[in-house]
Symmetry: C2
Amino acid sequence: MNPQHSVGIVTPQVAHFDAPLKLACGRELTNYDLVYETYGELNEQRSNAVLICHALSGNHHAAGYHSADDKKPGWWDECIGPGKPIDTTHFFVVCLNNLGGCHGSTGPSSINPATGKPWGSDFPPLRTRDWVHSQARLADYLGIECWAAVIGGSLGGMQAMRWSLEFPQRIRHCVVIAAALKLSAQNIAFNEVARQAIESDPDFVDGNYLERSTMPARGLALARMIGHITYLSDDAMANKFGRDLRSGSLDRGEVSNAEFQVQSYLRHQGSQFSGNFDANTYILMTRALDYFDLALEYDNDPVVAFQHAKCSFLVMSFSTDWRFSPERSREIVNALIAADRPVTYAEIEAKEGHDAFLMPIPRYLDVFHAYMLRVRGEN
Amino acid sequence: MNPQHSVGIVTPQVAHFDAPLKLACGRELTNYDLVYETYGELNEQRSNAVLICHALSGNHHAAGYHSADDKKPGWWDECIGPGKPIDTTHFFVVCLNNLGGCHGSTGPSSINPATGKPWGSDFPPLRTRDWVHSQARLADYLGIECWAAVIGGSLGGMQAMRWSLEFPQRIRHCVVIAAALKLSAQNIAFNEVARQAIESDPDFVDGNYLERSTMPARGLALARMIGHITYLSDDAMANKFGRDLRSGSLDRGEVSNAEFQVQSYLRHQGSQFSGNFDANTYILMTRALDYFDLALEYDNDPVVAFQHAKCSFLVMSFSTDWRFSPERSREIVNALIAADRPVTYAEIEAKEGHDAFLMPIPRYLDVFHAYMLRVRGEN
């Protein structure tokens, strides 16, 4: 832990909401908790608040450490902190665990008040707009009328875009990183196989594994492995592992023992994830991704959609990201230009694939930093 | 069934081999069967024989029909038959089910003579060179001293290349389609997740499922789904399915029922495959793919490797193939040029991804046809 560039030790907080939240699926949650963290100080005008929306497997712990001997900082510590693009000496940063999550906010592993048992697969399906509405309630709770910026990568970028349409008066800047207007058939296909891996695990028990005190750990590990391959570029994997062996040899006579580094890496990633994440949440999040289609109710025209936005946009993509490629970001940018919205676009050369949005890539941090200076200038 | 362009009704044959086959892993098979089909007639000089090597999930049934009411022809019927690139009015075509397969040749689902039980996961691991050596025995059995051409796509192309090095005097032309000198870390990663899906299925029982009268059908279906995504390009999936729904709607209130076409397609592919393929064979074949490294014992230099070849080469790749991209084929071509081997290379514009090698793409068939006319001219 380097206190000079870190927000330091942070403590998650919980906001409880008693007003029912009507969901896109038609059902409602009568009450719910949202767990969140904040970094920096809200200024007197309450004009320097920034919302961070997390991606598929993210949570509220975006920056800093939970204790002095905590070895790993929050998931976006490269971008949030003193002197970093989202500079906490200037911004009041809010990051929450989304509804339906498994890190403290109400979700499938919470108790369903109607039954006294865990929700499991009975938890209502969520759309990106449901998250945006619950985040608006959190803004109310924190006394934030208008975000200086709503920021997210991947699924987080989709929430940021949805914010610009659902609450155009409550967002001044929208930062969309490595995202897309909607998923392609290939994106959906990968998510579907991940869900199938979970659902076909006998320990999934139709989603009611908590009641049975079991866990679909194998299925969830597989789901994570599949996802993980799509986060990395072919190049990144080649650089990181190549065809290096972890054990055995490829010489004649020894082939049966050979194991590639990439194999043990994936297995490790899979099993670590399955011990820390809830399978129903994974299914819920991937479904929200699949169903996301920014322009669906705007005549399927993203230009018409973005005409409802009032904010300025920063869009960033990464050259080797094949999950949400630069082409997908250019579609966002083209629609914004046609809708006459102010937009800055940067396509960052990076070998890391989709994961690049979490990495300290100099040009990425520079562009991000420069844009956030503009946001600050308006506070 | 269109008899004009088809080889018609074909009957698989079985060759039994009693001489032990020493394998790359150091073990040996004391005896084994190879099931194969032939199309066309062997000429008097025995100079018109062509060997077809199959890919991961292929078998000996490459062309024609097994009965008059058979609805689906062999897997490469687009390329094999009268007037087709591999013209059976001129060539004597041999296609076998590889050793370790599950369509009649000796493999993990055969009985291990030493135990009287199915081999299961005790079946020896195979390398591409083992297949080439068993194919050479089949050539001896059929009285073929030298193949006019050895031809294969994907893993089949790797066998064809290995033929050119193991038996340089027994092959005049080598046709390598959508292949690579070795797999990338990403390729291995996908294979690894597929194997993990199978091995983590409780019905896999460490590979001894036949003894227990069970089948790891869920795991094998997942493995196939993962593979299938990598066979298709992003574009091909977009064209074939887009975001079309099979059922339900994405309107508010109905989201929980929405199912995309691509989801049901994948599930169908997965479950069909798992009823027709053996899980141990799938593991064995993907391992052979992972371990394949043409130049490994030639100082890791494909130029040195190809200096041992005596034949001419046709190499073809497809623009949207991201499993074995054109870049991988260009590596083959560059090494062949540097090794002073005659080589023809065609990069075919095709939307179909890796699967393109099975499709009737006009320029692909034209190039293939033209090259095979040259092969014929030398008979």
